[in-house]
Subunit: 218 residues, 4 copies
DNA sequence: AGGTAATCGAGACGGTACGTCGCGTCTTCAG
DNA sequence: CTGAAGACGCGACGTACCGTCTCGATTACCT
């Protein structure tokens, strides 16, 4: 759904015969993304309209419709740029437990940033609209899930005997690790306190130990 | 925000001297709630309009606006009626572990029911609109949280030495218990598999044991 | 259409066995008429609503609908009471010419009074609504026309040789006499200046003389 | 108030540098005017709604509101186009008396035409609404009055000694000439019979003779 | 250098739903 | 039975954005 930048969209019908005329203006693209971002943070998703974005960005409506399908598509575009690095795993800084705690804390902080609000809005809208859900889950969320599995997997490999870390286990542990944080944010809208971060991190490590030592799971 | 039924709204200044004239029609109220519920399930939140509800319910738009502030307000009304019992704790049926697993399974099933879809839509909209968030969290979600704490507390009291169950511990455990389920549903939109239910239930009991036996956490 | 007061309307089904319960409250009737009158003068016809009248008069809407068919019907009621005497012919005060001038002047003044504004509004609405037109023309205007013919006829009888005054002539002369005044008011909305009053009065007398002396009309 | 066509409205600040983008669609304008005209004649002023016009014209409501302030404004627009020529003075065809009679007859016929019904409705509404009154009287009626004065003046100049025709006299005579016709139509809603036309025409000429021969009135 | 083909601003246009107003009917209760 | 209060179905109001479209002006590439 989202129109990404680097890999130009598939609308180049004949890539051999490069076409004449001006190319897509990068400044316009950024103006739209920033306008959308600002308006979302300032006035909320409901007040975010294509006409409003166009006016704020000093751009014609048609120009927006040329490159994005909807306001959701614009937000998906901003998310791809901004959220990936904020949710990156930076392991190997200290002990596995410290690393895990640090990462969770960064996830917790992320929701307070603009990019976090964009994601919160998109997650919200995904509950209301199947197309948004498909775009978000088929794109960013799927990739992020992969990064989370890889990140947690690497960390556990470091903490435990490597051979015992199997993928299905890590997959489950990701749910147990991130679930409580998202629950706090999405359901209760409360900031995530340090205690929850610490408890969850320690819990998952404990559990990983237990699972790998006994392995009673079907 | 929501117009509740049994406890009449605060506009009765003097319940003794009730005013003259016709009273609010209960049949109209139900027609609206059912129409909203049906349309949400059939066509989704985006296609849910006040005009659509009015037409489906065979009711005038003005009548809806007289009693509800918005379509969100209508959904909040349906939630209060329907979701409470679906998320009730019915403990004392078997072993603590079985009881907990049963309850989680009912929570998991709940999201597939109409009332669950209403709640999912409301949680989604709460990410987009502060007023919805305030209404939902200040009303249903707060009460449900209390019921969850009471329910899990009672269950743990049965499972462990009663004196050791303190409220703050239970509060945390509720997050760890329900977080992964909501995460699955809200973020990935996937049905909750039995494995996650079992793992989570067992995990929380394990954790409760650990916390109460070793140290009560700072 | 208009509910008149003295000759009770035809809704008394059995005039012999007089019915039980309270009779129509005259105070309610007057409150409604005055409220309608006041609102018309203060805010204009467009802002004159049944609900507004009811509120102003401290009366329930149903009470109004019980006795009048529409807001036009209310205005017709006020007109009957007030306009008749304002447009009465009071001849025999002086010379025929003076009498005629005086009468025209009173007609001119009438439009500035509340009752005149009611009539102006009704004449306006009669252009827009056939039912209003029928009620107004079949009732008040027809009667007023008769009074005008009688009045002018009597005056001309005094001024000319009695035998020569025939009804068809007077009928025409009424148009020529009042037409210019109504034209000024209804079409141009201007106050009627004394010059027009004098000219018209004199003109009609001149014309009457001419017609009766030569009588060339078919 | 009325959006006129030929003399483009004053919103062109610099007619040389005309703005970019699509221009006002003339076909839309005509569709709206015709729809309004038709509906007025078919169903009357009360049943004439913006929504009805929009539907009949196959046009969006917003498009109507973009160019006209109200349904009255639309009717004013149709009037400007249609009524002017119907009420034109075409003198010099025959004797002054014949010319005058012919003109009055055309005025009489005018009220039966669609354009005449539009004008009747506007005159009616002008009694009920000050803004309508101001627009109508400040625009069409003022111009028509000028044309009437010019037309009657030219005719009298032909009929009498030119030097004796002064403007104030003609101004009065216009009232005396047209007043009775409008009185018949607006107050009694009756068609204008030939007799009234002939009488009025002859009367005004007689009067003009008298005024110019004897004294020019204070 | 000119032609060609795209982008871009502006905004008119047919729509849908909004939230409000007043209509005329109806129901309830007090006197 | 009257009358105040007001809920109800209804229709139109005037507004906000939607997504599509038509303009003219402005580039950038390609003969």
């Amino acid at each position: 759904m989202s129109a990404t930048r680097k890999p130009q969209p598939a609308c180049d019908q004949h890539p051999v015969i490069s076409r004449t005329g001006p190319r897509r203006s990068e400044s316009v693209r950024l103006a739209v993304l920033h306008a959308a971002d600002d308006l979302l943070v300032e006035r909320g998703f409901a007040a975010l309209t294509i006409e409003g974005i166009a006016q704020r960005a000093g751009v014609a409506k048609q120009t927006i419709y040329r490159w994005w399908k909807s306001k959701v598509d614009i937000l998906l575009d901003t998310l791809t740029d901004d959220a990936r690095e904020a949710l990156e795993w930076r392991t190997g800084q200290g002990s596995p437990e410290d690393d895990l705690t640090d990462h969770l804390q960064r996830v917790a902080d992320f929701f307070a940033e603009p990019a976090g609000q964009v994601m919160q809005a998109l997650l919200g809208h995904a509950q209301l609209d199947k197309e948004t859900a498909a775009s978000l889950r088929g794109g960013f969320l799927r990739e992020q899930r992969e990064r989370d599995i890889a990140g947690l997997g690497a960390l556990l490999t470091r903490a435990l005997a490597p051979a015992t870390v199997d993928d299905r286990l890590v997959d489950h542990l990701v749910d147990l690790l991130l679930g409580p944080l998202y629950y706090r944010v999405l359901v209760f809208g409360k900031p995530i306190d340090k205690e929850l971060v610490n408890t969850t991190a320690r819990l998952v490590l404990t559990l990983a130990h237990e699972f790998t030592s006994t392995e009673p799971e079907a």
